[in-house]
Structure formats: structure tokens, C-alpha cells
């Protein structure tokens, strides 16, 4: 059992990590990440309050917590969609705070995969075009073998020519997952990926994400409030009021539920 602790990091150390056995280098990390909304003073809301955490390569981490705990904000900041008030976010060795908008965009395109709660596919493109969209935007051709592998993994081989409006919610989210994986990103971030799905489709999606980690060696971080979803992860982190308050290695649904109850979520 190495590394997963909920203590404050000592200055200059790696701090809290969700690292697995072997202590591989993190795919992404937050260092004293703080995000304050509002102009300061009484009304200011600290969405992230000095969070330090590492997400090691090849691991599936679930970030949990009650609404308003800052878990989505953390994910958005990791994806370069939102910026910190202070602290650092490092993805694949790059300090996001030092990047221009354009560099951030290219980072999102090439090195980060993102899955939204509400599928968010481009309605005018087919499933295949949606999956390869980040590559197309970069003007690159998909690696056929890799494409076939992820399409097979998410089970979409017979749906590639369909448009989003011809797909079910679960199928659309599978397309979104495939899109997130297609660039072999440093990290796949998923924001409540099962929130809009029935439990069976949700279980499928989580199964695909699990396989992406186990079989394809990807790094996945999901935000969820569903204890069952957390059960697919290697580790669960618990946020409350913008702070990292707890963690659980190889979580089970029941174990997660207990922790959440303890947090009053």
C-alpha cells in the first residue's frame, strides 16, 4: 500500500498521490491547486482549496464528493478548460498555467481525452468522424490498428456510419469515450460519464473505461457521485469544500458509500 494518503504534502515533495505499485511517474498532477470564484472578500467561493494530488500512469481514479465539493472544477482545470487562481497543474510534464490559449487547445487536442456527461457529439458528423475529430483537427490520419482496437473495445464497429441522432444515449457516450481515447492521450478525463445514462449503459461505459486502463494501458480519471461507478476504479479520492479529505484504494461500492456518508454527502 504505497502513497495514497490524505495528508498535506510536505513542501517540495510529490504530495498526495493516487499512485499504484511501482511508483510510476504521474500522468497529471495538481500542486497546491486553488480556484477562487468571485471577486474575493465575503462572497468569494473557494472551489479548490490548496489541493495537491498526482494521477499515476495506467491507473483508473474516481474523484468523488458531494455537489459543490469542487470535483468538476478540478477535472476542468486538469483538462485545461479552466484555470487556477493559484497553484499548478501539470499534464504530461507541461505546466498548464504557462501555456497560451492556443497551446492549451493543442494540448487538449493531442494529449488529453475528455468525456462529458451529456455526450456532446457534433451532430453533423458520423460516429467515425466524431471519434477521429481530434486527429482531423490536427490534420493527422488515425492509426488504423489503434482505431480498430478502441472501436472494438467500445463495440461500435457496426455503428460507425451513423450520425449521433441515430444512436442511443449509451452508444453516443461510447462514441465520446472512443473519441477521448483515439489520440492515445496522456490522460482521459470523464465528467460524470454515466450521469445521463441508464444503469446498464452506464455499466458498459465504465467497463470500457476499465478495459482502456487494464488492456490499453490508458490513464483515466472520472468524476462521479455514483458509488457503483467508483467501484470500477483503482482508487477513489474524496473532495469536500474544495479540499481533498480522504482516499480509498481498490474501492468497493459499499466502502465508498460509507465514506460518502461520513462526509455527509
Amino acid at each position: 500500500m504505497s502513497g495514497v494518503t490524505a495528508t498535506r504534502p510536505a513542501p517540495g515533495t510529490g504530495g498526495l498521490t493516487a499512485a499504484g505499485p511501482g511508483g510510476r511517474r504521474p500522468a497529471a498532477a495538481a500542486l497546491s491547486a486553488t480556484k477562487v470564484y468571485g471577486a474575493g472578500g465575503e462572497v468569494a467561493v473557494r472551489a479548490l482549496d490548496d489541493i495537491s494530488v498526482e494521477f499515476p500512469e495506467g491507473r483508473f481514479t474516481a474523484v468523488m464528493g458531494p455537489s459543490g465539493s469542487g470535483k468538476s472544477t478540478l477535472l476542468h482545470c486538469l483538462a485545461g478548460l479552466d484555470s487556477l487562481s493559484s497553484g499548478q497543474i501539470v499534464v504530461g510534464g507541461a505546466d498548464l498555467g504557462s501555456l497560451s490559449d492556443k497551446q492549451l487547445t493543442l494540448l487538449r487536442r493531442d494529449r488529453i481525452g475528455f468525456v462529458f456527461q451529456s455526450f456532446n457529439l457534433v451532430p453533423t458528423l458520423t460516429a467515425e468522424e466524431n471519434i477521429t475529430l481530434p486527429l482531423a483537427l490536427a490534420g493527422r490520419r488515425p492509426d488504423r490498428a489503434w482505431f480498430d482496437e478502441i472501436v472494438a473495445t467500445v463495440g461500435l464497429a457496426d455503428r460507425l456510419r451513423h450520425r449521433p441522432s441515430e444512436l442511443s444515449g449509451g452508444q453516443q457516450q461510447r462514441v465520446a469515450v472512443a473519441r477521448a481515447l483515439v489520440t492515445r492521450p496522456e490522460i482521459v478525463l470523464a465528467d460524470e460519464p454515466t450521469g445521463n445514462l441508464d444503469s446498464r449503459s452506464g455499466a458498459e461505459i465504465l467497463g470500457f473505461l476499465r478495459r482502456a486502463v487494464t488492456e490499453l494501458g490508458q490513464t483515466v480519471v472520472i468524476v462521479t457521485h455514483d458509488p457503483v461507478a467508483a467501484g470500477y476504479a483503482d482508487a477513489a479520492l474524496f473532495l469536500a469544500d474544495g479540499r481533498l479529505v480522504d482516499s480509498l484504494e481498490s474501492p468497493t461500492a459499499a466502502g465508498v458509500l460509507d465514506r460518502l456518508k461520513a462526509l455527509g454527502g
Binding site: 492556443k102 457529439l121 453533423t124 483537427l137
Partner: protein, 851 residues
């Protein structure tokens, strides 16, 4: 419901901005046009009222000839009165003063020897009337003329020609007359009578140079004694003048009204009608734009409308709410448009000024009628454009509130395809049959309207496939960004067709004019080129000028010249109808102008004969040897024999009279053109230089070689086309704003999608490029449709006008330029929506509600 409509207006200001702007521009154009007409009418009325302010009665010749159509000097001709009438009138009881007035043509040359005046306002010459009550001009420098070679000129002319009291110059009447300027006068307090020039001689000078007969005067101006009314005096004068004088007597008030009516019904009516066409096109284009904007707004509010229906709103209330919104937009934009119209009136005047038509438009007068008309047209346009979207909104089913709004492919219904195809086919058939059967402009117009209606209905059906084709290069060579641009342009065919239709109409009109003008120019150039057999021409200014017949004889005397002969224009009663005629030494003319004789001979055609065109001969049933009665402005008439029938009318017109027959009846006979052929062996440049030198004393008229003459002959068409382009630019602008507006509304609607694209790595540059390409695709769709429609209708118009007027010429280069301009305009239209889309905050966009 009304409150909802108003609340929407307040919150959706930005989304309505495009609509407001379209209405604003259309109304501004209409109001500006009407204001310009009003202003000109008021100015002309003031001018004439001032000119005739103290003239109580006018006696003039009853003989007047006025040819319809082409306006120019001498085309309205009134005869002269015997000078004895002046004494007879002066003896009438109640007459305080009766003076002889002589009115004629006099071109003043400036200090640089060049003719003063642009293309339009008259060059007036007359007599300096010493009774200040009967003379609207006031001396502001110098004195009245006392010898026949002394003149007073108006201040405007003096300024333009840099002439001062004491300067010597030349007045062409049209013979060049050396004069000394002894006085400078104002018209009332203004520089002149509108923008015309005026030169006044002594009565002896005027008789010598203008009437060429000391026993004749143009009219008698009468001042009444105090207490004698105009009408009473006119009746007495009428009774006192013998019938043999062939005089008519009118009051000063009648004269003013007649003058004003002449200008109003002639020049002003034509100008207003011309401008109103373009204001109409602008409003029509605006209607399509407005319709499209409201359709989109309504579509975006489908959920809201459905919610209202769920809560119990009746359909009528939904319609009312949308119409209330359109009404508010129409009222606000039209009011703003009225204000903008004042500015536009000034711009329009400037446009005509820059083309050389100086219009007397001081100040700005707008009648209440004009304001009401422009305002009502704006409001009506907006509300009418809003009806269909309003009805569509009311058809939203309550359940739609619960559904997600999907991509709308409703545009391409089968019924629409059938109706559109039938309408278009019917329109094309009517146009083609009208052309084939020479049915004239009426049926061609009906067919055009049907064709346009068919295209409008068909637009959404065609939009999908057309955009797929037009967007192919983008999709093929511009990667996924290009492919998405194409798909976005296709995803809502009705919307794409709607914004493209506005452009289609605008471009269509541009192309119709372009094709027609090109055909006209080409056939004119060809026939001028074919008919003109000489080497050089000397021409008078386009409008309002004339050349002295002495010029032709002077040039003919040059050692470098074989032959030189002039062609004048006039009006005569030919076989009972007033016609514009050509006046020339016909045998000499036939050497220099290939008239293509069909019967008889032009050689030896002399006094007592005339030549007519084959068209006129056919229409009148004349042939060589027919005797035709020809009446002149002086009231006399003469039987002439048709000596020849000719086919080429481009330069000579339909009737040619020998100068010997014409000159006795026309005191100020002028040439419009002089044709010159050079002696063999004379270098063209040397010959031209010699002719230019010889023409110097005649006000340096333009001397041109064949190519130059053809260019000059077609220049007027180009100038008019230029004006038309400027006038249509506004319509095109409205159409492009429609595209930009549609795109902006689409951006709003696709906020979430755009956010997603940014989230998965689309750069801002790519976002902008995507929208730019979409705009270009839509603009190209509209432009190409407009070019197609315009070429078709241009062909119809050219055919309807008759092959002798114009032979169809498709200006490929110009049309290509129109298409390129359409694409470039698309780029411009896509800039703002693109910038807005690129600026979207990614997270907020992804979380945004659709619609």
C-alpha cells in the same frame, strides 16, 4: 403575451440588431429617394416662382413641338413671335411695362477656352432686361450690356470659368461670338438659375446671335399696373393680339406652374421612378432577410412557445406575440430609417453630381406624404415578413417543450419541391414564350416574377445538394474544418436558402443590368463601328450642348481633311407626330456614315426631300416617293418627298432632313456631331492634331478617333451602369448582413457544439475558418443563383427590347468578377460571427442550453 414580446425585445436586442439594420437601410433608401424628389421639386418650384415673380402675363408663340424620349437641346422647340406684338401688348390698358424677351442657347467658354457646364443643366442665353421687375437676375458687379458684343453672365458661370468683369471670351450661339463681360449677375441672391449658365446680350445682340432676325422675339413679358389682376390682364392682352400672330397668352402663375410641371412630370418623375426601383429592390431583399431572421428566432424559441402552449396560451396569442415583436422592430427601425434617409438623400445627390448631373438640391424638403409612405413601407415589410414565422411558431405542439430540438431538415418537403418546380417551370415557360412570341415586357415581367417566386419556394430543396457541391472543395481540401463548414451550411436548408435568397435577388438584379448594359453597349459599339466610315469625330457634350455648323466647314477646309460634315438634332412634326430628327448635308453624311440604304439614294438628296429608316417606313407605310408633311416649330409646314430609305439608325436616328430644308426654321441650328475623314497619306496623329487646333475657337469640343468615338458612345451606358451598381450596393449590403446575421444566430444556437469543438482541440483560428467557409458557401450559393437568374432574365429583357436595340452579350469577365465578389463578401460576412464563435468561453459554452 404582449409583455412577453416586449421582454424578448429587451433581452434579445443583439439578436434583433441584424433585422433592425435591414429594415433601417431599406427605409432609409426609400425615404432618401423620396426626400431627394421632394427637395428637387421644392427647389424647382422656388426657382421658377422667383424667375417669374413679377411677370404677370406672358405672350408667346402657340407653336410648340416636343418629342418624347431623349432629352436634349432643341428637342422641345417653340416658335418665335413677330416683334410687332410687343407694341400691341404695350398699348393694352393696365399694362405697366411690356418687354421683348429672347431665349436661346449660348455656351460660354471659360478663361481656359473650355465649355462651362457639366452634363445636364441648360446653357441659357437671352436678353438683358432693364426693367428689374421683369428680370429675375440682379447685377452684382459691372453694368448692363450696351453694345451687341457686351454681355452679362451669371455668377455661377463666372466662377466656374474664372471669368471677371472686363474679360473677353467666346459665347457659342452656336457660332462663336467674341464678347466682353461687362457685368456679373445673380439669380435673386443665388449664383444662378439652379446650375444652369446664363449669358445676356443687348436686344440687338440677342437678335443678331440668337434669333438671327431682328423682327422676331421669343416672348413678351408683361407687368401689370397696380390693381389689375393677372387673369384680367391676360384676357385683355389675348384680345389685343391679332390671331395672325399665332400667339398664346398665359399668366405668370400659369407659366410657373407649367415650368414646374414640366420638370416634375419629365425629369423628376423619371429620376424618382429610377431611384424607387432600387429602393424597392432594397426593401425586397430586406424582406427576405427579415423573414429569415424571424424564422430563426422563432425556431430557437420553439421550446418557449411550446411551454407557453402547455401553460394554456392559444395559437392566436402566440402569433400575436411574434407579430407584436415584428411590429416593434418595424416601428423602431423605420423611424431610424426616416432619419437615415435625410443623410442618404445627400449621398444620392452627391452620386448624381459626381456623374456630372448637377441637381439643384439646396436644403432638404420632405413632404409628410413621403415620410408616411416610407414609414408605412418599412413597418409593413417587417410585419409581412414576420407573418409566416409567427404562424409557424403557433403550430409548435406543446409536447415539443419536452423534446430536444434536433437538426431541422424540414425544408426539403416533397410538396415544396413540387410547388417550387411547377412555379419555376411556369415562370421560365412564360418568359420563353413571351420572348419567342415577341409579347413584350409585360409578359416577360410576369414570367420573371413567377420564376423568382418558384426559386424562392425551391430554395430549401435545392440548398442541400447545391451546398454539398459548392462545399466540396472546402471539404476535400480543408480537412475536417472545411467538412464541418459544408455540413453546417447543409444542416438547415431552409435557413441557408433564406439567407441566400436575399443575396440571389440582389445579385440577380445586378446581373440583369450588367447583361442588358453589356448587350446594349456591344450592339451600340458594333453598329457605330460598322456605320461610321470616317476617321475622326468631334462631339458636343453628352447633354445640353451643341456645335456650330461652322465647325464642320472650318474643319473641311483643312489641308489634311478630305471631308467633314455635321449631324444636328431637332424636333419636327413628321407625318403628324412630333419626332426627333437628324439634320445634315445628307449626301456628305452618307460618305462618312454607312446608312445602309434599302431603297432610293442618299446621293443628291436635297432640299424638299427627306430620308427615313426602314423601321419608320414600314410602320408608316411609306416608300421612296411618298409625300410626307413636315411641320416646324415656327408653325409652318412643308410637304417633303421620301428620297431614300436606310437601315442603320444607331447614329442617324429614324428621320434625316437636309440642312437646307431645316435651317430656315431653326434660328439656332447646331450640330451634335461632326464626322471627319482624313486625306490618304495623312498620319492619323497629325490629322487629329490639326482638327483639334481648328476646333479650339469652338470651345475645345472632344475630338476622337474611331475607337475613341465608340468608347465615348458607350461611355454613357457605363456611367449609368456605374450609378446602378452604386444604388444596388445597398441591397447587396443588406443581403450580406442577412447572411452574417443568420450565421450569428446559428452560432448562438450551436454554442454548445462550438464549445465541444474547442474542448476537443479546435483552435480559435479553425473556428473562425469554419464559420468563414460556411459564409462563403452560402454566399456563393446565393451569388451563383443570382447570376443564373440574372443571365436568364437579362436574356429575356434583351430579347424583349428587340435585336435592333441590343444583341445578347454575356459579359463573362464581369460575371466572374461578380462571383468572386460574392465569395469575398462571404468572407467578410463570416468575420463577425466567426470572431464571436472563437471568443466563446469553452466551459460556459459546453454547459449552455441549446437555443
Amino acid at each position: 403575451m404582449f409583455r412577453i414580446a416586449l421582454r424578448r425585445l429587451a433581452t434579445g436586442k443583439r439578436r434583433l440588431a441584424g433585422t433592425v439594420l435591414a429594415v433601417f437601410l431599406g427605409v432609409a433608401f426609400l425615404a432618401g429617394t423620396l426626400a431627394l424628389s421632394d427637395t428637387l421639386r421644392a427647389n424647382f418650384a422656388d426657382l421658377f416662382a422667383a424667375a417669374n415673380s413679377h411677370t404677370d402675363v406672358v405672350v408667346r408663340s402657340a407653336g410648340q413641338l416636343k418629342a418624347s424620349g431623349d432629352a436634349g437641346p432643341g428637342l422641345t422647340q417653340r416658335g418665335l413671335l413677330d416683334a410687332s406684338v410687343v407694341r400691341q401688348v404695350a398699348a393694352v390698358p393696365g399694362v405697366a411695362d411690356a418687354v421683348a424677351d429672347i431665349q436661346g442657347y449660348g455656351q460660354i467658354l471659360g478663361a481656359d477656352g473650355k465649355a462651362i457646364g457639366g452634363n445636364g443643366p441648360p446653357r441659357l442665353a437671352g436678353v438683358w432686361i432693364t426693367d428689374p421687375d421683369l428680370n429675375a437676375y440682379r447685377l452684382v458687379a459691372g453694368r448692363a450690356p450696351s453694345t451687341p458684343d457686351e454681355v452679362v453672365v451669371n455668377r455661377g458661370a463666372a466662377k466656374a470659368g474664372h471669368l471677371e468683369v472686363g474679360d473677353g471670351t467666346i459665347v457659342e450661339t452656336p457660332e462663336p461670338v467674341r464678347v466682353t463681360i461687362v457685368g456679373i449677375a445673380t439669380f435673386g441672391t443665388a449664383d444662378g438659375f439652379g446650375t444652369s449658365t446664363f449669358v445676356a446680350f443687348t436686344p440687338e445682340g440677342a437678335a443678331a446671335h440668337l434669333t438671327k432676325d431682328p423682327g422676331k422675339v421669343s416672348r413678351v413679358l408683361v407687368k401689370a399696373q397696380p390693381g389689375v389682376s393677372q387673369a384680367t390682364l391676360a384676357a385683355r392682352v389675348q384680345a389685343a393680339v391679332p390671331a395672325s400672330a399665332r400667339a398664346e397668352t398665359i399668366t405668370g402663375a400659369q407659366l410657373t406652374k407649367e415650368n414646374v410641371d414640366d420638370v416634375t412630370s419629365g425629369f423628376l418623375a423619371a429620376l424618382s421612378a429610377f431611384l424607387l426601383i432600387f429602393a424597392g429592390v432594397a426593401l425586397l431583399v430586406g424582406t427576405f432577410s427579415i423573414y429569415n431572421s424571424f424564422s430563426i428566432l422563432v425556431a430557437q424559441r420553439t421550446r418557449e412557445a411550446a411551454l407557453l402552449r402547455t401553460l394554456g396560451a392559444r395559437r392566436r396569442q402566440i402569433i400575436g406575440a411574434v407579430l407584436a415583436e415584428t411590429l416593434a422592430v418595424g416601428v423602431v427601425a423605420s423611424l431610424a430609417g426616416l432619419v437615415g434617409g435625410f443623410g442618404l438623400a445627400g449621398l444620392l445627390k452627391g452620386l448624381f453630381d459626381s456623374a456630372g448631373f448637377a441637381l439643384p438640391a439646396a436644403g432638404l424638403t420632405v413632404s409628410a406624404t413621403s415620410l408616411v409612405v416610407a414609414f408605412a413601407a418599412g413597418v409593413a415589410t417587417t410585419v409581412v415578413a414576420g407573418v409566416a414565422p409567427a404562424v409557424r411558431a403557433s403550430r409548435v405542439r406543446p409536447l415539443a417543450a419536452l423534446r430536444d430540438v434536433d437538426v431541422d431538415r424540414s425544408g426539403a418537403s416533397r410538396a415544396r419541391a413540387v410547388v417550387g418546380a411547377v412555379l419555376s417551370a411556369l415562370g421560365v415557360a412564360v418568359v420563353v414564350s413571351a420572348v419567342a412570341g415577341h409579347a413584350g415586357l409585360g409578359r416577360t415581367g410576369l414570367g420573371s416574377v413567377l420564376t423568382l417566386a418558384g426559386l424562392v419556394v425551391l430554395g430549401p430543396v435545392v440548398a442541400g445538394p447545391a451546398v454539398a457541391v459548392l462545399g466540396w472543395p472546402a471539404a476535400r481540401f480543408r480537412g475536417v474544418t472545411g467538412a464541418m463548414a459544408r455540413e453546417n451550411a447543409r444542416r438547415n436548408p431552409r435557413r441557408t436558402a433564406g439567407s441566400a435568397t436575399a443575396l440571389l435577388v440582389g445579385v440577380g438584379v445586378v446581373v440583369v443590368f450588367t447583361v442588358f448594359a453589356s448587350s446594349l453597349r456591344a450592339s451600340m459599339a458594333r453598329s457605330v463601328d460598322e456605320s461610321f466610315g470616317g476617321d475622326l469625330t468631334i462631339s458636343a457634350p453628352s447633354f445640353g450642348g451643341g456645335l456650330s455648323p461652322q465647325l464642320a466647314s472650318t474643319v473641311a477646309g483643312l489641308p489634311q481633311v478630305t471631308e467633314a460634315t455635321g449631324l444636328g438634332k431637332g424636333v419636327a412634326l413628321v407625318g403628324g407626330t412630333a419626332e426627333g430628327i437628324g439634320v445634315a448635308d445628307v449626301p456628305a453624311l452618307s460618305h462618312l456614315l454607312r446608312l445602309d440604304v434599302a431603297a432610293g439614294t442618299l446621293d443628291g438628296l436635297g432640299d424638299g426631300q427627306l430620308a427615313v429608316s426602314s423601321d419608320a417606313a414600314k410602320a408608316r407605310g411609306w416608300h421612296v416617293g411618298s409625300v410626307v408633311s413636315v411641320g416646324f416649330a415656327d408653325g409652318t409646314s412643308r410637304d417633303l418627298t421620301v428620297g431614300a430609305v436606310y437601315r442603320s439608325t444607331e447614329v442617324a436616328g429614324d428621320y434625316l432632313l437636309p440642312r437646307a430644308t431645316w435651317a430656315p426654321h431653326a434660328p439656332q441650328d447646331t450640330d451634335r456631331l461632326v464626322f471627319v475623314s482624313l486625306r490618304p497619306g495623312v498620319a492619323p496623329a497629325d490629322g487629329e492634331a490639326a482638327v483639334i487646333r481648328a476646333a479650339v475657337p469652338f470651345g475645345r469640343p472632344a475630338v476622337q478617333d474611331r475607337a475613341g468615338y465608340v468608347a465615348a458612345a458607350t461611355q454613357r451606358i457605363d456611367m449609368m451602369l456605374g450609378i446602378v451598381y452604386v444604388l444596388l450596393a445597398l441591397s447587396i449590403l443588406i443581403a450580406l448582413m442577412g447572411i452574417a446575421n443568420t450565421l450569428a444566430l446559428s452560432v448562438h444556437e450551436r454554442t454548445r457544439e462550438l464549445g465541444l469543438l474547442r474542448a476537443v482541440g479546435q483552435t480559435r483560428t479553425q473556428v473562425r475558418a469554419m464559420l468563414r467557409r460556411e459564409a462563403v458557401i452560402v454566399a456563393l450559393f446565393g451569388t451563383l443563383g443570382g447570376v443564373g437568374l440574372g443571365v436568364f432574365l437579362g436574356w429575356a429583357l434583351v430579347s424583349a427590347a428587340g435585336t435592333d436595340v441590343a444583341r445578347l452579350t454575356i459579359p463573362v469577365g464581369r460575371l466572374a468578377a461578380v462571383v468572386v465578389a460574392g465569395a469575398v463578401a462571404g468572407v467578410v460576412a463570416g468575420v463577425r460571427p466567426g470572431r464571436r464563435a472563437a471568443r466563446l468561453d469553452v466551459l460556459a459554452a459546453v454547459a449552455a442550453d441549446a437555443g
